[in-house]
């Protein structure tokens, strides 16, 4: 599904965020990326759809090159990758439904969408995605009137509305309390199991990562230093990944 080869990212002038990452992610995997702050988790996720432009290396999605793709090709590839952010990143002043409809932008005719017209079918699809995260009744509310947990569920619905093959989530629960963390991770797990979507999620809470992931990737200083099933994570691995300081 996703192939990453020799991925490097250097932020000017000389901050090395990713130092040669190689990963092969199969369809249906629930990959948890763990590591200390600054280990490169966020940069890795953002390089996958080129919200951050990699310095070197290659990213492939279903055999298509993401790195070096033309703007049009990149848009087509981004359509297949739903993204969930730590800060939800909803458009605050518009309704919940409009936020979810934004997930349809890659699918609908461009010109009518600019004047705010979406085909009936796409509205139905957006509502169905809201139903999946249990927020259908809030469709007409302004996004900024929702609680943090609800906003993140809307963001998940927006990602689902893209009908993606992959969902990339960057610390989706870091702004939420433990109970909401369980609820959001539960929704992601359901998407993974029921829809067979491939998930790549960065998670700073080790326990949460081990509970939900089918595969753990440990990053340290921009390098993969662990890659295996949750059961394979030993105290030694943890020590190694967090360099002594478990969070």
């Amino acid at each position: 599904m996703i192939q990453i080869r020799g991925l490097r990212k250097v932020f000017p002038p000389d901050k090395i965020a990713l130092d040669g990452v190689d990963l092969e992610i199969a369809p249906g995997e629930f990959v948890m990326i763990i590591g200390q702050s600054g280990a490169g988790k966020t940069t890795l996720l953002r390089c996958l759809n080129r919200l951050v432009e990699p310095t070197a290396g290659e990213v492939m999605l279903n055999g298509s090159r993401v790195t070096g793709a033309s703007p049009d090709t990149l848009r087509a590839l981004r359509r297949q990758m739903g993204v969930i952010f730590q800060q939800f990143n909803l458009v605050k002043r518009v309704s919940v439904l409009e936020n979810v409809l934004a997930g349809r932008l890659g699918h609908v005719p461009a010109l009518p969408s600019i004047v705010g017209r979406f085909p009936h079918r796409d509205r139905e699809a957006a509502l169905a995605c809201l139903r999946q995260v249990g927020l259908e009744e809030l469709a007409d509310r302004r996004a900024d009137t929702l609680s943090g947990g609800e906003q993140q569920r809307v963001a998940i619905a927006r990602a689902l509305a893209q009908e993606p093959k992959v969902i990339l989530a960057d610390e989706p629960t870091a702004s939420l309390d433990p109970k909401l963390t369980e609820s959001i991770m539960g929704i992601l797990q359901r998407i993974n199991v029921e829809r067979g979507l491939t998930l790549v999620v960065s998670q700073h809470m080790l326990e949460t990562a081990l509970n939900y992931g089918t595969r753990i990737v440990g990053l340290r200083q921009g390098r993969v230093i662990f890659d295996g099933p949750p059961a394979g994570v030993t105290p030694g691995t943890v020590e190694n990944i967090y360099q002594g300081g478990v969070r």
Partner: protein, 251 residues
Amino acid sequence: MKRGVIRAVLGLAILAMYGWFLVAAEVSAFRFLRGLPWMADFVRRMVPPDLSVLGSAVTGALQTLQIAVIGTTVAAILALPLGFLSARNVVSAPIFYPARVLLNLFRSVDTMVYALFFVAAVGLGPFPGVLAVVTYTAMTLAKLYSEAIEGIDPGPVEAIAATGASRLQVLRFGMLPQVLPLFASYVLYRLESNIRAATILGFVGAGGIGFYIQTYLRMVNYPAASAVLLVLVLMVMGVDFTSSRLRARIV
């Protein structure tokens, strides 16, 4: 010690500058005091207002309102592409630097000067007034728009881009909702200013209530002039009131 010297020199230089400017501008308390009786006389001759000219005053005021509303509306729309093209988080440096320079160039000339230009170009009447308002206001609004755009939260913009949306869709769904209320507030504010600017457009033959003020003053018909001024004040207050109420509801 050294800083004290620098401060003293700087202070003296600033004082000298003001002294020079006051002399150059021929500012004189004596002349002002000598003029006071004339001012009183002027005001005395303006009352009571001659209400028989109320009809033409209202016609003039209405035309001023029309010039300001049409001019501001057209400018608000024209400023949209201009604003986005001069925001550094929308376009790259080779586009926004020239766009900025162009905006600042056109903005340094006031509506009145544009009015003179357009009267010469298309003839007398309210139309050159509209053109003058459009030109100046479009540039001012574009500048305000671009600053609002540069201040938006980049998170939602990135989220929309990540869905595979086109650049235009990102502008429309990620950026526009964030800035639209600000834009509306700026437009209303400009409308208030333009009502005032449009009142003197008549002085150069570009239509509106200014024509009547100037005419009656020239004819030394002060009661008529004061009636027109009265209508003008009422209109400006009315527009300001409505507009500020609207602005308070938007933001």
